[in-house]
């Protein structure tokens, strides 16, 4: 489906991209879409951080080839979008728990979406970024800047009063996920995982994760997984 860039705010390393889709897509927090630039043959996965009707926002970290190109997107330019794919957070998590949301960098994107739609399930939210650069384009409750407060995401999480009944909903780098897992051994942790993807819908077997029930696809069976059911090393 076509989408038109409605607004794009950028810093050196981040993009807040607002697009309008031809038709309204059904998107639940935690789901992602495949975005494809003009002249590209394949798209790449991005979580939705905000949706209202045909308007969708993305929070994008500029890390490589395609995201660098995205920096140059201009208002009214067309991109291709398909989705939403993946299992909504709400369908996998235990809805009887309260969640501490931990977002590492742009891993925050789906969590922001989640906290807006399901505030009653949120105990606390920490969207951690290394520097204050992100503030130029993102202004949400829960923003944590490592450099400003001289503590990282995990140290910040430690300042919260966490009971063993509380659960975590996290998204970020594999390192961050492993650290959180190690640290909060007694809490239920759901993590939204990432992988290089091609199809986004489970047909190509391109985005595997080892689970207690065999190999699963992050795009189709995730992206959210209960960390107790996945093996992070392979």
């Amino acid at each position: 489906m076509k989408a038109v860039v409605k607004n794009i705010e950028t810093t050196k390393n981040y993009i807040l991209l607002t697009v309008e889709t031809e038709k309204e897509l059904k998107i639940e927090p935690g789901q992602f879409v495949m975005l494809k630039l003009k002249h590209y043959d394949f798209g790449k996965p991005f979580s939705v951080t905000y949706q209202e009707g045909k308007i969708i926002k993305f929070l994008i970290a500029v890390v490589g080839e395609m995201t660098k190109e995205m920096l140059k997107l201009k208002t009214n330019e067309e991109i291709a979008i398909r989705g939403a794919y993946g299992i909504p957070f709400i369908e996998k998590i235990d809805q009887n728990k309260k969640y501490v949301l931990l977002g590492g960098d742009c891993g925050s994107a789906p969590l922001i979406h989640f906290s807006e739609k399901y505030p009653h399930l949120v105990k606390e939210k920490i969207y951690g970024f290394a520097t204050s650069e992100i503030k130029k384009i993102l202004n949400v409750e829960g923003l944590h800047i490592d450099k400003e407060s001289n503590m990282n995401l995990l140290e910040k999480a430690n300042t919260i009063n966490i009971s063993s009944d509380d659960a975590f909903l996290i998204c970020g780098s594999m390192d961050m996920i492993k650290t959180v897992k190690n640290y909060f051994k007694n809490n239920k942790i759901y993590a939204s995982l990432e992988a290089r993807m091609a199809c986004g819908i489970g047909i190509c077997k391109g985005c595997p994760i080892k689970t207690t029930e065999g190999i699963k696809m992050i795009c189709k069976d995730g992206p959210i997984f209960d960390l107790s059911e996945v093996e992070l090393e392979w």
Binding site: D41, G43, A198, I201, G202, C204, P208
Partner: protein, 299 residues
Amino acid sequence: MVEVCGVKFKNPIIIASGPGGNGKELAKYIDLNKLGGFTAKTVTPDEKEGNPPPRIVNVKSGIINSIGLQNPGIEKFIKNDLPFLENLDTNVILSIGGDKKSDYIKLIESLNNSSAAFFELNLSCPNVGKNGIPLGIDEIAILDLVKEAKKISKKPIFIKLGVETFLEDLVEAAVKGGADGVTLINSPKGLKIDINKKKPILKKGVGGFSGPAIKPIALATIFRIRKKFKKLTIIGMGGVFSYEDAIEFIMAGANLVGVGSGVMADPEIPIKIIDDLDKYFKRVNYEDILSCAVEGFYV
């Protein structure tokens, strides 16, 4: 409508083996019954968990993959996937793979009574086959394998090959053995290195390269075989993303055209191709363009 090896196809577009999985997931997004055919992902005797990630890397106009033939193995395939495929109102091609002749024979025996249209013997998966000469480049092994396979198979047999130096000889061997057709091309090998990490992006290193980038190579390969084998049935594939691409393949000599990466890039692509081809075939005759290459349109 197209007839190939006595089987009627609604249209010449089929899903290539692999990128479409075994159909169930794809069926959530498109109507598989609109397809000319659907090739299931290569199944092997035993379950394979495939390669560790990353398995996918994007390159210019293409993708390199090292799925590593992840598949449930023949038993689970028959139990969980085959019934779904048999229920489709389109032709199913069963792709089978293995390390040795007996693997293929076993798989054919297991699947012989299914309602599928063809068998496709995948001899060229770039991600497996370490011990000795891979089957897919050994003409003697191909002749032997196809002969045995034909003896027991109740269905037409296609041999899937990659771009090889002596491809004519390999195809010749397959034909001699009684193969009903060939499928061309399986992905050439490709590599992408992360220059910051100083190592390949795929965990496995080298992978199979597919998508629009390989289209000219696929076309040259199909044409090369068509030139020598005027009557052989060819399933052509490699970077087909549009109906114009599909027409190019038919003109180069493909009887059926497979969409692989295209369905990964966007599940709607095969349907769009079929709709567009439909319009095209109102003006132009399939048989006519199919004969372009046979009639040798150039030196």
